[in-house]
């Protein structure tokens, strides 16, 4: 009885193994793609061409360039040479250009690791909606990839041979991660454009020309400011300094040094904000739309060019006051620019108002473009200086000259 059961079990197992084995062999592995057959795209640039066409440029990783040793005994690898190449093709839209590009390309284009998308300035001004559609619809491009607008054409940025990073796109991505300029992902952009105010800001990329002794392509891309989008079209830009103000209001400021003159003193003090909490408090008083920006920040002194003794509470107070002023100045500058020049709400004020005053927002939703230029900005800034660094008195200055205040 028991033995019969075992036999049946064995038979079933054999059958199962047979069927599984046959399925594996017969079906093959149809989705299988070896890494060797992939063209790993590290960055993509989209430029507008004259005849209503676009040019898609892909920065593609060359595995051979990295595999130093390899089978051929490592001959002929130029040290520090290009690990990426740029392939580009024209087409009526991205997918058209891509299919044409693919037909000339021996490896399958793989978007999964493309973390940088750059729109050319011309294209950005003409509208990016249809291109965004491709990037969001296709399963491979990451929604957390960063999006940029280039100063001029986008393709040259991909062609750069960044001296420090493996490839230029990597340098650009790291730069965004440092949070010095605006940091916008594909998903952020999508959310902003379909959001209630339909305005977005993207970082602008420019090329830092190569220094002396460097080869022609060895420039570094850097973030040169902010492009402002109304709906899907770029309508203007902000300088680097104005961008800082925007970052303050949007609470995205991270590693940036503020340098200013404290009061009537000679020389400048540099402060690094460590922590900043920003609150936007919308108010409607007497039918006036007012935005109160409340900032509470803490900073650390990284350089003291004045003769103030920063260990005394009094002089700290002076510096704090000046720091507050400086922040206020920056915010107001940025606000002026976005409100008066660009007339576009990239600061997210609309969302704040809609949250606090949903009824009034509903009524005035259509008029937001008229209301925004008339919003008044009030600032309440509290700055604290918590750390002075290793020394308290100005470094390298005789005691007599230090001003105790």
């Amino acid at each position: 009885m028991e033995k019969g059961k075992g036999r049946l079990f064995m038979k079933n197992i054999l059958l199962l193994i047979l069927i599984c084995g046959v399925t594996l062999i017969v079906s093959g592995c149809w989705d299988r793609v070896e890494v060797n057959d992939l063209a790993i795209v590290t960055a993509a640039a989209i430029d507008k061409k004259d005849d209503n066409q676009i040019e898609l440029s892909l920065q593609v990783f060359i595995p051979k360039a990295l595999s130093g040793g390899g089978s051929e005994g490592g001959g002929g690898m130029s040290g520090g040479g290009a690990v990426t190449m740029v392939a580009s093709h024209k087409g009526s839209n991205i997918s058209d250009a891509l299919s044409k590009l693919q037909s000339e390309f021996p490896r399958r284009v793989f978007w999964g690791h493309c973390k940088v998308f750059i729109f050319g300035e011309k294209l950005a001004k003409a509208g990016i909606q249809e291109h965004l559609d491709f990037l969001l619809r296709h399963p491979q491009p990451r929604e957390r990839a960063y999006v940029y607008v280039s100063e001029g054409k986008a393709k040259p940025i991909l062609e750069l041979l960044a001296p420090l990073e493996r490839y230029s796109a990597e340098g650009l991505r790291e730069l965004s991660d440092l949070h010095i300029g605006m940091k916008v992902t594909l998903q952020d952009l999508d959310e902003k454009l379909i959001g209630i105010v339909q305005a977005a800001a993207l970082p602008i990329v420019d090329i830092h020309p190569p220094g002396k002794g460097q080869e022609k392509l060895q420039g570094e891309p850097y973030i040169a400011g902010t492009a402002v989008f109304k709906k899907d079209k770029m309508i203007g830009n902000l300088t680097e300094k104005e961008t800082r103000g925007i970052l303050w209001i949007r609470n995205e400021i991270e590693a940036y040094t503020v340098t200013f003159k404290p009061g009537a003193e000679k020389g400048e003090i540099s402060i690094n904000p460590i922590k900043a909490s920003v609150k936007l408090v919308p108010e409607i008083r007497n039918k006036k739309w007012i935005m109160v920006v409340k900032i509470d920040t803490e900073g650390t002194i990284i350089q003291n060019g004045t003769n103030l003794n920063l260990s005394s509470p009094k002089s700290i107070k002076v510096v704090e006051k000046a720091f507050e002023k400086e922040i206020e100045k920056r915010i107001e500058l940025a606000f002026q620019q976005t409100q008066q020049e660009l007339k576009t709400d990239i600061l997210g004020f609309g969302e704040e108002f809609s949250r606090k005053y949903p009824d009034k927002w509903k009524k005035n939703k259509g008029r937001w473009n008229e209301i925004f230029p008339e919003i008044e900005l009030e600032t309440e800034i509290k700055a604290h200086i918590r750390r002075q660094g290793y020394i308290t008195k100005p470094g390298g200055m005789p005691e007599k000259e230090v001003k105790e205040q």
């Binding site: 989705d31 890494v35 060797n36 390899g70 493996r166």
Partner: protein, 525 residues
């Protein structure tokens, strides 16, 4: 097609010859004859052509004929000369009236047993105790003079360690049981023995602690042992396969150990230990999966260290099963699932490799297994040569030749080390074996395939039983308080209870609340 295949399978099954049942010629069921000469003749015919069996006829007290039968090398010959032959061959002044009485009362030999059955006489001779046949007696006398060369107690080779007893079991059953008895001195330690194997007559002993063990378990074990009918038992592995619950499983449901301290620890938790003559590996039943990934040193080290090492083992358990298949799956299907720079490095190193990832993985894993197996079987002197060749060939040369990528070598190496992390060799080898189907699944279905494989393994583990105890207990079915000895190793003063499933009849093993809490110096004043 399926029908044809199954018919094929059935046919081959039917061709199997019937197992011959109980054809044991060497087991005469007769009693000894009254006639001395006939008895000697019977023994001579039984031991025909056995040059190692000695017949020594002599005159008892100078007049009665007698023969002593023993096997050279199994019997203490000096003992025979000194304690048997010399007193018996003496011609004493007053001849004792009853030989029986003399043998029982005046022979300086520890055991003298009167044996009536021929079969029992043969068994006595085979196990080294000489048989004394005397004219006029219808029985033989078995003299306890067995003595043969034994390996001494040595360090257990397969289960080393830093802390803990250095004594291991060896091939002799008596020494093994004595080691248990030396640790557990209570008479509650019971050792029941039986003989299995038509030719080898191997002694198999079941040890347990009365009062801790569930009696039905002992009954079940003895029943299963009694059902075994086999030519010979050469190692406890024979027994293991004949009595386990699910023979078609890669996972062992009975644990083997060559350490007396492990055996005793399990006895104290209400398990049974099966000792088999001729092998240092004793069997422990019932066990759970977690017994296999625990080591004796977990209990000897500080509990935090023990817990840490257990967690490490859990991690490496997963690695040893899954790492190569994960690598294959990611490289063939899920390229986006690794960080960019890692993918770039991998793709750079794979550039010159001519094989797809799955083939590469299979080649490397099979080579590794072959190297390991070669290293185990070879004599020690050549073993190091194998490892050098292995390290050079699969480690360096194959990468330099561009046949295998360097990341794959790293993956295989880590996996190999991970599988050696399992304190029980058998558990490690089961996982190593399952790795291959997992790699195939990963190479054909990707992460989906891996998940399918893992689910199948978990279901299988859940369905396993070891003498009725769920294999994954106490995790499934979940017994929260029992996890003290599974997920971590509780300090000894907290391990108040035995595992419930094996030690339920006598749950508490120690007094509660024994956490050391000495008074501080200042408080004693």
């Amino acid at each position: 097609m399926i029908r044809n295949v199954s018919r094929l399978v059935r046919k081959t099954k039917e061709k199997k010859p019937h197992v011959q049942k109980n054809h044991d010629d060497s087991k005469p069921q007769d009693t000894l004859h009254k006639n001395y000469y006939q008895n000697v003749e019977t023994f001579r015919s039984v031991y025909n052509n056995c040059s190692d069996v000695m017949f020594r006829p002599f005159l008892l007290f100078g007049k009665t004929k007698a023969t002593i039968i023993y096997i050279k090398g199994l019997t203490n010959i000096e003992g025979i000369e000194e304690f048997v032959l010399s007193p018996l061959m003496n011609e004493p002044n007053n001849v004792p009236s009853s030989i029986n009485e003399f043998l029982e009362n005046k022979m300086p030999v520890s055991t003298v047993i009167r044996v009536n059955m021929l079969a029992d006489c043969i068994e006595s001779i085979s196990s080294g105790n000489p048989i004394l046949l005397i004219e006029g007696e219808s029985a033989g006398f078995s003299l306890g003079l067995a003595k043969w060369e034994k390996r001494g107690i040595e360090e257990p080779i397969a289960e080393g360690g830093i802390r803990g007893s250095r004594e291991g079991f060896n091939e002799s059953l008596e020494i093994n049981t004595s080691q248990l008895r030396r640790i557990i001195k209570s008479p509650a330690l019971k050792i029941q023995s039986m003989k299995i194997g038509n030719y080898t007559k191997t002694t198999v002993a079941v040890a347990y602690i009365d009062g801790l063990v569930d009696q039905t378990l002992i009954e079940e074990i003895t029943n299963r042992l009694k059902k075994i009918e086999i030519d010979g038992i050469l190692e406890s592995g024979y027994i293991e396969e004949m009595i386990e619950d699910n023979p078609y499983s890669p996972f062992p449901q009975i644990m083997s150990t060559e350490r007396p301290d492990i055996a005793c620890a399990n006895l104290l938790e209400g398990r049974a230990v099966i000792i088999v003559e001729g092998t240092p590996f004793t069997l422990i039943a019932p066990i759970s999966f977690f017994s296999l990934i625990q080591s004796h040193e977990d209990y000897y080290q500080r509990f935090m260290v023990g817990t840490f090492i257990r967690w490490l083992r859990f991690v490496f358990l997963g690695i040893s099963l899954l790492l190569p298949s994960l690598y294959v799956a990611i490289l063939t299907f899920h390229h986006e699932a690794v960080p960019t720079s890692l993918l770039l490095s991998i793709s750079a190193s794979r550039e010159a490799v001519p094989f797809p990832a799955i083939v590469e993985a299979l080649i490397m894993e099979i080579t590794f297994e072959a190297l390991r197996e070669a290293g185990v079987r070879l004599p020690k002197q050549i073993g190091s040569a194998v490892s050098i060749v292995g390290a050079l060939v699969i480690g360096q040369a194959s990468v330099q030749a561009g046949l295998v990528s360097a990341p794959m070598v790293i993956v295989v190496a880590i996996t190999g080390i991970a599988s050696f992390m399992m304190p029980r060799y058998v558990a490690g080898i089961a996982l190593r074996m399952l790795r291959f189907p997992m790699i195939l699944l990963a190479g054909t279905l990707g992460l989906l395939g891996i998940m399918m494989g893992v689910i199948a393994i978990v279901i299988h583990l859940c369905s396993l039983r070891s003498f009725g105890i769920p294999y994954l207990s106490p995790l499934a079915p979940l017994k929260g308080r029992e996890l003290k000895d599974v997920l971590w190793r509780a300090p000894w003063w907290m391990m108040d209870t035995r595992p419930r499933l094996t030690g339920e009849s006598n749950l508490y093993r120690q007094a509660p609340e024994q956490a050391p809490n000495p008074k501080r110096g200042s408080e004693t004043e």
